[in-house]
């Protein structure tokens, strides 16, 4: 396994196979908790932890041929138990060390169990790749997803509340206040973006922009290919 392959494996989750923007997986938390950047960061941390370890465990139980023959016929229940265990551990750790964030994210922490990204990666990647490769894949996917939800929450928080709350747990209090821009313009933040409506609109518009860019790219490639032919 050379360096280039590892790098490609890691970065494919960022753009080419971004779970949220390209394959449209894990939409529920991406819409529900993105009212603040901080929530997106917290969700990202939880997902990062679960996805790396679930990919590792899944690839460990399907790696050796003998074990694989045993696991494969009942793989769905096996995966569910593995993932649920990891989620319970995450839940407990977050309740102990990040209590306010745990309360804000609420039901979406236990719901990581049924997040399609985790199941999708276990089924599509980890079940027929080596443990280390699977961990790299998990890390890339989780970071790509975190980046995507941070992007959505940036739009929603700036437009909806006029702040950027990067991290405000315990003693840390990293909050950028952008109200001066609104004061300068003489308007108030658009409340709608903090509400459920804002989530749908923001996500829909981002997806449309991505589609427009990739359409334009495809068009260009087509024209270039036609030009070569002539």
């Amino acid at each position: 396994m050379d360096f280039k392959a590892v790098r490609e494996n890691f970065f494919k989750g960022f753009v080419k196979e971004n779970p949220l923007f390209v394959t449209v997986l894990g939409t529920c938390p991406a819409l529900a908790i993105t009212t603040k950047v901080e929530n997106a960061v917290g969700m990202g941390i939880a997902l990062f932890f679960v996805l790396i370890l679930s990919n590792l465990l899944v690839s460990l139980v399907t790696f050796r041929p003998k074990l694989r023959a045993l696991v494969m016929p009942v793989r769905i229940p096996v995966y569910i138990v593995l993932i649920a265990t990891l989620v319970v551990i995450t839940e407990m750790l977050m309740e102990a060390f990040l209590q306010p964030l745990y309360v804000t994210l609420g039901v979406f922490i236990p719901l990581i169990v049924v997040n399609c990204i985790i199941f999708g990666r276990a089924e599509a990647y980890a079940s027929d790749h080596k443990p280390l490769e699977s961990m790299v894949d998990g890390a890339g996917m989780a970071l790509g997803y975190t980046m995507a939800i941070i992007l959505i929450s940036l739009f929603r928080e700036i437009l909806g509340a006029g702040t950027i709350t990067i991290w405000a747990q315990g003693n840390a209090n990293v909050v950028l206040d952008l109200h001066f821009i609104y004061d300068f313009l003489g308007i108030a933040p658009i409340d709608m973006f903090a509400k459920p409506v804002g989530a749908f609109v923001t996500y829909g518009l981002i997806l449309a922009v991505i589609a427009a860019v990739s359409n334009a790219k495809a068009e260009k490639a087509k024209i270039a290919a036609a030009g070569v032919k002539k």
Binding site: T27, A32, I76, I80, V107, V113, P196, V201, G204, A211
Partner: protein, 191 residues
């Protein structure tokens, strides 16, 4: 009684599972394209959530609480739901092949529908009594069915209209959901 009515109304309109709580969005976007499939999925979800709500509530109250293993609820609930869905599939297949044909393909998808696990967990965190749990677990999936059906009707009409190229598929579906969410957010003023 008023308490139960409030729970039912809130769960159906104000805290609508799709447009306010954002549970089960995957199926909303995927299955909500056609009226027939949205009806099938919706009915399957109604039955599953009511049964799963009762099963998980009873297990939590009478087994997990006395044993003080409440922290295990995520693992236990997902296993109960998976087993329940499997059981339902077998039973329906045996007794009503026609119903199985209509609901069959949606049943396996339900295990990973976050609405089911979400309702089971909310029943516990809100500390509902049996009657409250039953009303809540019925009102939530009925709200799901209602919104999904309206959504499917609009999307069927949308197919015939010239949507800008970049918006085709998921983006316009999201914008449509946003419009529905605006309507539903206004129900909050009624209580």
């Amino acid at each position: 009684m008023t308490n139960l009515l409030t729970i039912a109304f809130t769960a159906f309109f104000i805290e609508n599972v799709l447009l306010y709580q954002f549970l089960g969005i995957c199926s909303f976007i995927g299955v909500g394209k056609k009226r027939s499939s949205s009806l099938g999925m919706g009915l399957a979800v109604v039955v599953t959530i009511i049964l799963a709500g009762m099963a998980t509530w009873a297990i939590y109250r009478y087994v997990m609480e006395p044993l003080e293993i409440g922290y295990m609820k995520t693992i236990v609930f997902i296993l109960v739901i998976a087993a329940l869905v499997q059981m339902m599939e077998t039973i329906i297949k045996k007794f009503s092949p026609a119903l199985y044909k209509a609901l069959g393909i949606y049943l396996p998808l339900i295990t990973t529908n976050c609405a089911v696990l979400g309702v089971a967990i909310t029943n516990i965190t809100r500390d509902y009594s049996f009657a409250e749990m039953l009303v809540y677990s019925a009102a939530i999936p009925l709200g799901y069915l209602f919104v999904m059906y309206i959504y499917a009707i609009i999307r069927e009409k949308l197919e015939l209209n010239p949507v800008p190229k970049a918006f085709r598929g998921v983006p316009i579906a999201m914008i449509l959901a946003a419009l529905l969410a605006i309507i539903f957010s206004r129900f909050g003023g009624l209580i």
